[in-house]
Amino acid sequence: MLLPRVAPTSDRSRGTRAVVANGVGKAVLNLRRLTRGGGSALPGLVAERIDPRMVSRLVAQLPEGVIVVTGTNGKTTTTKMIVAVLEAQGKTVLTNRSGSNLSRGVASAILERSAWRGRLLEDIAVFEVDEASMPAVCEQLRPSTVVVNNLFRDQLDRYGELDTTAAVIGRAIAGLDGSATVCLNADDPLVASLARYGDRPDIRWFGVDAEGVERLDHDAASDSDHCPQCGHALDYTKAYYSHLGHYRCPDGHVERPTPELSLTSFESIDVHDGASRLTVDVEGDSISIVLPLPGLYNAYNALAAMCAMRSRGVALHDATDALSHVTAPFGRVEHVDVHGRGLRIILVKNPAGFNQIIQTFLGHPKGTRLMLAINDGLADGRDLSWLWDVAIEDIAPCEFVLCTGGRAADMALRFKYAGAEADVVPDMVEGIAELLRRTPEGEEAEVLANYTAMLELRALLDSQATLKRFWQ
């Protein structure tokens, strides 16, 4: 986009320019919608070029301010949960539903909903924000609530080390307004260490105290299980998954904070469609929720959402109904019917997330038909070393395992060294065709895909023309 950068002008002309800037952004958005759909970052880019302060001015009009959700896994789901609860309270909510979570994506969402004259009509905004974009976005939006759910290794070739990511989020937290609330996962030592940034009186902790939560035998995805201060390995009395659990530095530097919001029981009640029963204790009160989403990872998302809502004065009893109707976002867990075969499609992006999928869906022997679609696109992270830290050994014996995508051979090699056989079909059209051939009509199969493989897969499955090609 070759728009000239407009030089800063005097304050007197600024009001006019904000209106112009907004108009330009909106026009671009409408054009993109008409021509191709998507393109959620472009209008934000144009508007930022014209008046970088416009977004700040727009969100400052929101009477109930801004909630920002960040962390490696579960941002989209947590954001969706918070929006659902707020809407159930009768509030109008501005959000970046599309998962477009860099600062430009957030600006786009704001522009899209602002009227031509540069006003937002919603009560409150909830945005999921990429970890690396936190300082810029928080500076611009001045959120009154920030939620950090977890920090796992993810795309080390793009984002660098996990400690660096934590420091970036810490910088954003240090720059928040004094009145802002920060909701942190007490069970993640690196997230908990964020409490030391800035002089922040209002920290709200959430965590898991449930008994009987199993850990995978081969969970090697503990990325931050050493003391953030002295580097010594932390002692764990409970270890749920990755580095989440109840920990303590042997030299006493850090200890898991006691959460005000605590999950005291977790029960998987429908693994097929994905539902769990949660008991959440808060200040002596016990609340039961049936969450229509599977896995402990979604329980953490629900805790994060409830923690944010509580900081806003929403009674948790009022939040449970909305949470019991929330659905999974795009690609997280989707059921698709293809030629009479039921495919459950699940996004896997990093060892912690992949292991949670294994624990939730693939740990019990049931003759799973399994396909893995793995690419090495820029948006996936081009380094696939992390596949070797996934607990493939904990996948129960499958009827078959098919690997497809550009890095199908790497995935199959990982299975080979886990003692399981996997077949390689790099071309995704052929891969899907093979999956359908091997899956009898009326039966089901699991499809795990990383990000660009998921996009490719969905595009193929959505196209009737390609659906026919599967039978050629």
Binding site: L156, L162, D225, G231, A233, R382, W388, A409, A412
Partner: protein
């Protein structure tokens, strides 16, 4: 005759974020498939370890925080590791530990982390992070991997590299060589992890250890079709 080798995995907790434990798994499986028992011993910071009594030492890459703790711990093991290296113990050290097997690692902030000086090499932190797919030519044939390091390592003249760079950076942005080799100690920046997709190199490590322990080197060949297919994807991929 039954054969058994001991693999010592140094710092599995501190240096663990780049999938390098796949290297230990690869050694174990390739031994197991040939009827060689693999005994893996994990050794963390502060834990006792006699390098002269093991067959293969492995250590991987980690975050800077882990590297500081590991650097201090390695200092206490310098003499033992140098003696074991002279005695021919097989070692593979990747990325962060490779840097600490050199003389020193000077971080971008100017901190000096002393290494054990097993390799005649210095590493200097750089603002340029070297990231991408790598192919190198070695005595075991072409090898592939993924590099991701901001430290740039320079070998002294005469110090042997692991291979010549065909694609990617290697030790630093200019020298076009990758890794280091001293007796049976192998240092490399290659992640991926390095061993699964480079089976000839993995077998060289096992074979060398078998020759030392049992005076046999004839390893039964394995079917490496899948390993080669995965390596070819990297060779054909852009940097």
């Amino acid at each position: 005759m039954t054969y058994a080798l001991t693999i010592t995995h140094l710092y599995p907790v501190e240096m663990n974020i780049y999938g390098d434990r796949g290297n230990v798994l690869t050694l174990c499986k390739r031994m197991e498939w040939r009827g060689i028992t693999a005994n893996v011993v994990d050794v963390g910071v502060g834990e006792p370890f006699d390098p002269s009594r093991t067959d293969i030492v492995f250590a991987g890459g980690g975050q800077d925080r882990g590297q500081v703790a590991v650097g201090l711990d390695l200092q206490s093991r310098t003499d033992a590791l140098l003696e074991a290296a002279e005695a021919g113990v097989v070692m593979l050290v990747v990325c962060g530990t490779y840097q600490l097997f050199g003389r020193r690692f000077q971080t971008l902030e100017g901190h000096d982390i002393p290494g054990i000086g097993l390799f005649k090499a210095d590493t200097i932190g750089s603002t340029q992070r070297l990231i991408g797919n790598v192919t190198i030519e070695t005595r075991w044939g072409p090898m592939v991997g993924f590099e991701n390091h901001s430290g740039q390592t320079t070998l002294d003249p005469g110090e042997a590299a692991l291979g010549d760079v065909i694609k990617g950076y290697g030790n630093n942005a200019t020298d076009k060589v990758e890794g280091a080799l001293h007796h049976n100690v192998h240092g490399t920046y290659l992640h991926g992890p390095v061993l699964p997709r480079n089976p000839a190199f993995a077998d060289h490590l096992i074979g060398t250890a078998m020759r030392r322990r049992y005076d046999v080197e004839l390893l039964e060949p394995l079917d490496d079709t899948l390993e080669r297919a995965a390596a070819k994807v990297v060779m054909d991929a852009p940097r």
